[in-house]
């Protein structure tokens, strides 16, 4: 393998990995605070991408406004999902909310098939994001450089909110014990709504980035990326924001490098990635950056 080719593979891996990281951040945030694995995350992700597409093609909005608008609309949708599907189950066993989120996931997918139709749509991309930069034999999209930076910014922003602001304090309190937080005067339902709003905004942002990289919209487009990002989040230690970023990057690198070094096994790359994941989880059951499990006294 020539050096140029290896560097090309590295950039491919960085792109894919930081996209996984972007999606995983939202997954892990909702889990970290509510202990709920939100399987509808991939569908929120899909809706975010569709909303931008609508904004640009139907209402002829400029890109930045369409993106901001889509993120706002998607986070409202996320809050509504919480009210309808999760809030009534707040005091039910955790497994009920999990099942409810699977239901929401199927509902949103089929809703999108009915409303958006199953025909794949093209995505118009701003030219400056896709003008290929050629350095020797290596070809890089400007997009590729945006993803890691964006992942880093979102990670830092999220850490700031969770550890330095008042709603963040509420979030951390809720993650420890909902009932006690309520007794201490934390507006539990409002904090949870904010959490879902932020989680959905992150999903929308990653959905938009995904659609820019793989310019095609389909109602089922969130399934596989959502699944991969969930794996990345578990791998990094679910609940840990830094862990999600690292998990996403590692998963992206594994997927690309398996094809790069063992091309004949390209069809089994998911299998290899997941076997590696199982091995790591066997050694470190809480993931790379997961909290140590402690028994409550």
């Amino acid at each position: 393998m020539s050096l140029a080719m290896f560097v090309q593979h590295l950039f491919n891996a960085l792109t894919l990995g930081s996209l996984y990281a972007l999606i995983a951040i939202g997954y892990t945030m909702v889990y970290g605070i509510l202990r709920l694995i939100n399987f509808a995350h991939g569908e929120i992700f899909m809706m975010g991408a569709y909303f931008v597409f609508w904004g640009v093609t139907l209402f002829h909005l400029p890109w930045p406004i369409a993106v901001i608008g889509a993120i706002l609309v998607t986070s409202m949708a996320g809050i509504m999902v919480d009210r309808v599907a999760y809030k009534p189950l707040r005091n039910a066993p955790r497994i009920s909310a999990l099942i409810s989120s699977i239901g929401v996931s199927f509902f949103l997918q089929n809703f999108a098939i009915v409303v958006f139709s199953a025909i794949p749509r093209a995505v118009q991309r701003p030219d400056w994001l896709v003008k290929v930069i050629v350095i020797d034999k290596i070809r890089i999209l400007p997009l590729t450089l945006v993803f890691p930076v964006l992942s880093f910014i979102l990670m830092m922003g999220l850490l700031y909110v969770v550890y330095r602001t008042k709603p963040g304090l509420g979030m951390r309190a809720i993650s420890k014990d909902i009932e006690t937080s309520r007794l201490m005067g934390v507006p539990v339902n409002r904090i949870i709504a904010i959490t879902f709003g932020m989680g959905s905004a992150l999903a929308a942002a990653s959905g938009i980035m995904w659609a820019l990289r793989y310019p095609q919209l389909q109602p089922v487009m969130g399934v596989i990326p959502g699944f991969k990002a969930f794996i990345a989040a578990v791998f990094g230690g679910i609940g840990s924001i830094q862990g999600a970023v690292i998990g996403g990057l590692v998963l992206g690198f594994i997927e690309i490098m398996i094809v790069a070094f063992l091309p004949t096994l390209a069809g089994y790359r998911d299998a290899f990635a997941f076997v590696l994941l199982i091995i790591i989880l066997l050694i470190m059951p809480t993931g790379l950056m997961g909290e140590k499990l402690e028994d409550k006294v």
């Binding site: 009210r83 139709s117 199953a118 025909i119 794949p120 990326p225 091309p263 390209a266 069809g267």
Partner: protein, 392 residues
Amino acid sequence: MKKGLLLGLIVVIAVIGFMMMRGEKAPEAPVVEEPVAEGEVIRIGVYLPLTGQMAMGGQLELDGIKMAQVEMPEVLGRKVELFVVDNKSDKVESANAVKRLIEKEQVVAVIGTYGSSLAMAGGEVAESAGIPMVGTSCTNPLVTQGKKYIFRVCFIDPLQGAGAATYANKVLGAKKAALLIDVANDYSVGLAGFFEKSFLKLGGEIVSKLNYNSGDQDFTAQLTEIISKSPDILFVPSYFAEGAIIMKQAQELGVTFQIMGGDAMDNPQIVEIGGDAVEGFVHTTFPYDPSMKDMNPVAQKFTDNWKKNRTDDPNVNAALGYESYMILLDAITRAGNTDPEAVTAALAATKDFAGVTGLTTINASHDAEKPIGIVEIKEGKKLYIATIAPEL
């Protein structure tokens, strides 16, 4: 708390209702029309992917079938009624769809489907029930192999693979080929294998053969690897939606070699999704396209009738949908009744039926023998450039 939930549900349902009323393109729900007394109508089942990954092809085939029904609404002096079920591009749903058509709707014959893996799943059910099935564009040989009741109106992949290899080698002069295959798809694996076999036989060389899985969206690793082997041609036997994304990524990675595909790329949407990345792309298809010269009279009539009612161009899937209905009705006419055994025998005896894609004869393996069409994307438009007889 209960009130909130109820309110939320009402809002959601109202929103859906509103969206549907506004006439957004809702996928076809299973058609169940008012029951008619037995013996009066001839009940024909249709199962196609109307939602999911293969929806575009399935929708077009359904449009073709419906157009054929409008032109020929009766046979044996009895009205034909279609029962349409969506198989959702899914193997399990396909089997369920055919089961439902046969057991609940009591159809005498089944038309479908787009997608070889779907046709195999549905075909098993029709075969064991003894109900004849006419496949539209399922090209994998296994669909009809060893089956008594399963037919199709299209050619099969050994022929198509040989056609693509012949065109690549003889016309484009390619010596080194690379393959990018969806390992989770019967059609893709089959067609790639037949291409490889014929290409080697013609004296070519396969320099790279890489796999991916249905649903993958990142192909950069495979493409980078293929570029390093500098082939003359890359053969991608995928569906058009994936094909368009693969070509986009190939363009970004600076691919200069020719890319070729199979009949599943034959969809108007490929240009819209692929944009300038699909420019110059060549694929094999069935011998019909609205852009072809020297159309036969049936194809001419089909094209004119289609354009009379719609703004878009017909494609080969619509033509095959149309053809499958016509061939089935022709068989029912010759059988003189709707007994499944008689219809099956009549289908097997179909000879020189003049259809949109030329004269159709059903051979011993229940496949239609047809020449191979070659389409190229030029200046954002599909152009039918050649009809070739493959060198097997």
